[in-house]
């Protein structure tokens, strides 16, 4: 995060708009005063201050800044797909004030040196906070433990497998026991690789019709079950990343009831799209885990609504155009989502599948709690804020997208919900007027 400006010592006043804290609190905003990067006062007390700058938020929603548990910044190593500067700016455009950087870089973030590199680049080039996730095994090869204590000391907030697997249950069990030693949360995307084999789409109606290679549901659910049992045994804090199956949500809820320390997230596109998105061989929707059936989608949305799934993530995967310009099976998985998360989430609100509070919670306090951070709009809270116009419209295209990846999930039609301003510790990380 850049500290070149000293705006943080200035006094900033936000007037008007509606406060939605994602924890059930909703109120009209009279005034919100920001001093030294924190929310200093609200209401009439805030008004009385002699401020340097005032933001008129009439008609906007004032929410805590969004927190993303799964974001691929592509640096180090994949400059043709994006870099820390481009992708964190895209994140700020999307209303995010904190992103967790996936360990799947080149080299993999499996040592303190790589973690330091990411943090150093972020410190000078990123308008928002970047929290690295360390690799759970060396090189993410799935065979040997990574230097987890070193990763933690260098600033990793969790360890994970990115989108790769671990050789077998014995190694996984040791990874968990070792992570538990250092109080590290294990973020794991569950996929049994033997069952997933060469698949790249949900094993269901569409793959059967189009002759695509399927990834069966059981590739995820068998892995979820195995991880839940190992988490129970080792006592590690487990976070299941990017669930895609209804049955996984059921097992997760059951495990939470049993008192197992487990949380989970879901990628935004899993909440809106299904296997049908591949019906025209649209390689944009080649994602992993794959988009599954409508009943899976509904169960995932219900999981967010009921709080069983703590967080919605972007699973942002920017690519160069060549990575998506090939027959479906030969393309790379992933969507460029981070700038569309809010608008897609608001479609769910518009359809009454989620309330605005559910959505904001799953983008703020939900993910923040997974990595041991707080989020809110009360006095004393960090002034990480997202100010958005819930009725404003935009179209995701080459003019508007900031990310190096142009394969956004929805292009060519209007989206509702525009981020007007993103503040990180009271400093403007994104200002639509100046963009």
């Amino acid at each position: 995060m850049s500290h070149t400006s000293n705006q943080s010592s200035t006094l900033l006043l936000i007037t008007g708009g509606r406060l939605v804290d994602g924890q059930g609190g909703e109120a009209d905003n009279d005034a919100l005063l920001i001093r030294d990067g924190r929310i200093a006062a609200t209401g009439s007390q805030a008004r009385s201050a002699d401020v340097d700058d005032t933001i008129n938020a009439d008609g906007w929603v004032i929410a805590p800044g969004f927190v993303d548990l799964c974001c691929n910044l592509r640096e180090p190593g994949n400059g043709q797909k994006g870099n820390i500067a481009s992708e964190t700016r895209a994140a700020a455009h999307g209303g995010f004030t904190t992103v967790c950087a996936s360990p799947e870089t080149s080299p993999v973030n499996d040592s303190g040196a790589v973690t330091h590199l990411i943090r150093d680049v972020a410190a000078s080039r990123s308008p928002i906070r970047v929290l690295p996730i360390g690799a759970i095994t060396r090189g993410l090869e799935g065979d040997l433990l990574s230097d987890m204590a070193g990763l933690r000391n260098a600033g990793c907030v969790a360890v994970g497998n990115g989108s790769r697997g671990v050789r077998n249950a014995r190694i996984l069990r040791r990874c968990m026991a070792y992570a538990q030693t250092f109080g590290l949360t294990v973020m794991f995307s569950p996929e049994n690789q033997a069952l997933a084999a060469d698949g790249y789409a949900h094993d269901g109606l569409v793959t059967s019709r189009l002759g695509l290679l399927g990834i069966p549901e059981v590739a995820e659910t068998a892995a979820v079950m195995e991880m839940l049992l190992l988490a129970e045994e080792t006592g590690v804090r487990l976070h299941l990343s990017q669930l895609s199956c209804a049955r996984s949500v059921e097992m997760l809820a059951e495990a939470q009831q049993r008192g197992i320390k487990v949380t989970a997230d879901v990628a935004i596109h899993q909440l809106l799209f299904t296997e049908d998105a591949l019906a025209g061989f649209d390689s944009r929707f080649h994602v992993r885990p794959p988009l599954r059936s409508e009943s899976d989608r509904r169960a995932l949305v219900a999981g967010v609504r009921e709080g069983v799934i703590a967080a919605i993530v972007s699973q942002h995967q920017p690519h160069d155009t060549a990575a998506k310009q090939a027959p479906l099976a030969a393309t790379e998985p992933g969507l460029s989502t981070i700038e569309s998360v809010l608008s897609l989430g608001l479609e769910l609100v518009d359809r009454d599948e989620l309330s605005l509070t559910d959505l904001v919670r799953a983008l703020t306090s939900g993910p923040a709690s997974v990595i041991g951070r707080t989020s809110g709009l009360a006095e004393g809270d960090m002034a990480d804020l997202c100010l958005f116009d819930p009725t404003g419209t935009w179209v995701a295209d080459d003019r508007t997208l900031v990310s190096a990846g142009r394969h956004a999930p929805v292009t060519g039609r209007e989206l509702t919900g525009v981020v007007r301003m993103t503040l990180v510790e009271g400093r403007k990380a994104w200002d639509a007027l100046q963009a």
Binding site: L205, S208, R209, G211, L212, P216, P327, A329, T411
Partner: protein, 337 residues
């Protein structure tokens, strides 16, 4: 929610419903399929002349792009194009450009720059012809000569032509497809064609390891027991079994497969006495079919091969017609603007 028109079919038809690419049978209606069969019938006569040529594609360049080798399919496409008087270029891409690291898109754009009018594409990946038609060279007519496990629409149509020649109709027919449906692009296209043309029942007969998930959703019933499945059949279509299937733990052995799902005289006797036997080829004698059946009186396997040329002539001439109409429409639009 969908990001754009999800149908893969809009791609292969012109605005007024003419064929301009031939990628899949999905989205093509009964009238159009019947039109293809009728057109093919008219070309059968051409094959019986001393001079087997018509000038429908004179001056056009057809490129056979086979990313996966196939002598027979390529030969019938080549013959079909030549009988339509086209100039034909055969490219075996698996051994040329792509092995030098050139991307598929770049290879195709180069060929398009050589003023090609039609690409006949075979590719090991499902959806490759779609990708080419949609994103790479939309101005070139694309004919799918088999893509991955997805579709082999000309094969399915030549099978339909063969069935119509022998049965004169599709209504009331009971048809079984036997063997490796999971990996078969032919089976997927056949099931679709038979459903659209009005067959009474399409049965797939195979063990569970060789069936795609929810196969019934394609428009068929499932029978594991071949002896039961042969009952009342008017048509039995055998699929080719690849030897790799044993290694992937999908089947225990060729011998067990032949015993359970191979077509021999005893099993054929359980079907309707006039049941015809089909196979898209090449045949594994003694694996999916007994020689006495393959060469027997009920076999129409060689008719299929003959019909292959007529069907391909029909599809190529129709798609070229649609493509030319589309170009003229766009030119007219451009002239107005």
């Amino acid at each position: 929610m969908t990001a754009h028109d999800p149908s893969p079919h809009h791609l292969q038809l012109t605005r007024d419903g003419q064929l301009r690419h031939f990628l899949t049978l999905d989205g093509l209606d009964r009238d159009l399929l019947t039109d293809i069969l009728d057109t093919a019938d008219s070309f059968i006569e051409v094959g019986e002349r001393t001079i087997k040529k018509v000038p429908l594609l004179r001056g056009r360049t057809v490129v056979n792009l086979f990313f996966e080798s196939s002598t027979r399919t390529r030969s019938t496409f080549e013959l079909a194009a030549k009988r339509l008087s086209a100039d034909v270029l055969n490219l075996d891409i698996s051994t040329s450009a792509t092995s030098k690291g050139e991307s598929l898109s770049d290879t195709l754009l180069n060929l398009e720059a050589m003023a090609s009018d039609m690409f006949v594409v075979r590719h090991s990946q499902s959806g490759a012809p779609h990708f080419i038609a949609e994103s790479v060279t939309p101005g070139v007519a694309i004919i799918n000569a088999g893509d991955g496990r997805h579709a082999h629409p000309t094969q399915a149509m030549l099978d339909m032509l063969t069935i119509r020649q022998h049965k004169q109709r599709f209504e009331g027919l009971k048809v079984a497809i036997v063997g490796d449906v999971l990996h078969s692009r032919v089976a997927r296209s056949q099931i679709r064609a038979l459903n659209v043309l009005g067959a009474e029942e399409v049965r797939v007969i195979a063990p569970g390891t060789l069936l795609p998930k929810d196969v019934e959703s394609l428009g068929c019933t499932v029978e594991y027991d071949m002896e039961k499945g042969m009952k009342d059949l008017d048509v039995v279509i055998m699929l080719r079994l690849q030897k790799e299937r044993m290694e992937g733990a999908l089947l225990p052995s060729e011998r067990e497969f032949y015993r359970l799902y191979g077509l021999n005289r005893e099993k054929l006797a359980l079907a309707h006495p006039e049941c015809i036997v089909m196979h898209p080829g090449p045949i594994n004698r003694g694996v999916e079919i007994e020689s006495a059946v393959a060469d027997g009186p009920q076999s129409v396997i060689l008719n299929q091969v003959t019909n292959g040329i007529a069907i391909r002539m029909a599809v190529m001439s129709m798609a070229m017609g649609g493509q030319v109409a589309e170009r003229q429409r766009q030119q007219a639009k451009g002239a107005k603007a």
